[in-house]
């Protein structure tokens, strides 16, 4: 937690804002993957991060307010990446969603949040009327 030496790589914060429209999700996932690929994540982890970010954007489009925008913030450090995805919607009782395990029949509903939880190391939803819905998720660089 000491400040990094001046010559080390910056712990960069990259912000992105896209219209909450299906067409732009591809831009968000490519940008997030590009940010993550500046750190030594495995190819597998990069794909996980890309998909999780895309699922979060898709949810913001499908469950957030119409004609809105989605704000995505990526912060990288030596440990990994933290991605936050926010919309201006009122959210939903997200605390309990998609926590269950897969039954014998496999999973066919609420796959989005389920995938996010499966692919990332930590996932936290906050949602209130004033600030909208925010999903903060992290992925650690594995060594």
């Amino acid at each position: 937690m000491n400040p990094a030496p001046a010559a080390s790589r910056s712990n960069g914060v990259v912000r992105l804002e896209i219209p909450a429209v299906a067409e732009w999700v591809a831009v968000a996932r490519l940008a997030v993957a590009a940010v993550a690929s500046r750190r030594p994540f495995s190819v597998d982890d990069l794909e996980d991060i890309k998909l999780a970010a895309a699922e979060a954007c898709t949810n913001a489009i499908q469950h957030g307010p119409p004609n809105g925008t989605i704000a995505i913030t990526c912060e990288v450090s030596a440990e990994g990446i933290t991605i936050s995805v926010s919309d201006r919607g009122h959210g939903a009782p997200l605390g309990t969603v998609a926590q269950e395990r897969i039954g014998d029949a496999g999973r066919t509903e609420e796959l989005g949040v389920f995938l996010i939880r499966a692919l990332m190391d930590t996932v936290e939803y906050t949602s209130d009327v004033r600030n909208g819905t925010q999903l903060v998720m992290t992925k650690r660089i594995s060594r």
Partner: protein, 114 residues
């Protein structure tokens, strides 16, 4: 960042849907349309070839699941061809491997339809 969809007839009333590209919230309606059209024309034995698919999200999975549910009502099935390890992993994580037949090549997927 786009999807190519190609539908072709195969042996014994089976149809193959070739997909190439990325299946996401923007492109999956195109995939859905192709599958829906086949089912509306009463073709219930489908092979969906994902060999050239580089990316699939939950909306893409939802389209495949929706197709499977509909053909099953008519005693049909959907078999997938999938070799990309990242995409196989998604079917594993979600447990969808238990629902779909997933094969390494079209021939096996076709044979298993019968």
């Amino acid at each position: 960042m786009d999807i190519k969809v190609n539908v072709r007839e195969s042996e014994g009333d089976a149809y193959v849907v070739d997909l190439a590209g990325e299946i996401d919230v923007y492109t999956s309606p195109k995939v859905k349309d192709a599958i829906t059209e086949l089912i509306d024309r009463e073709h219930y034995n489908l092979v969906i070839n994902l060999e050239k698919v580089r990316y699939i999200d939950s909306t893409g999975l939802g389209v495949l699941i929706g197709g499977l549910k509909r053909v099953r009502e008519h005693g049909g099935s959907v078999n997938l061809v999938c070799t990309n390890p990242q995409i196989k992993k998604i079917f594993d994580i979600t447990g969808l491997v238990k629902i779909f037949g997933i094969f390494d090549d079209e021939q096996s997927a076709m044979k298993a339809l019968a």
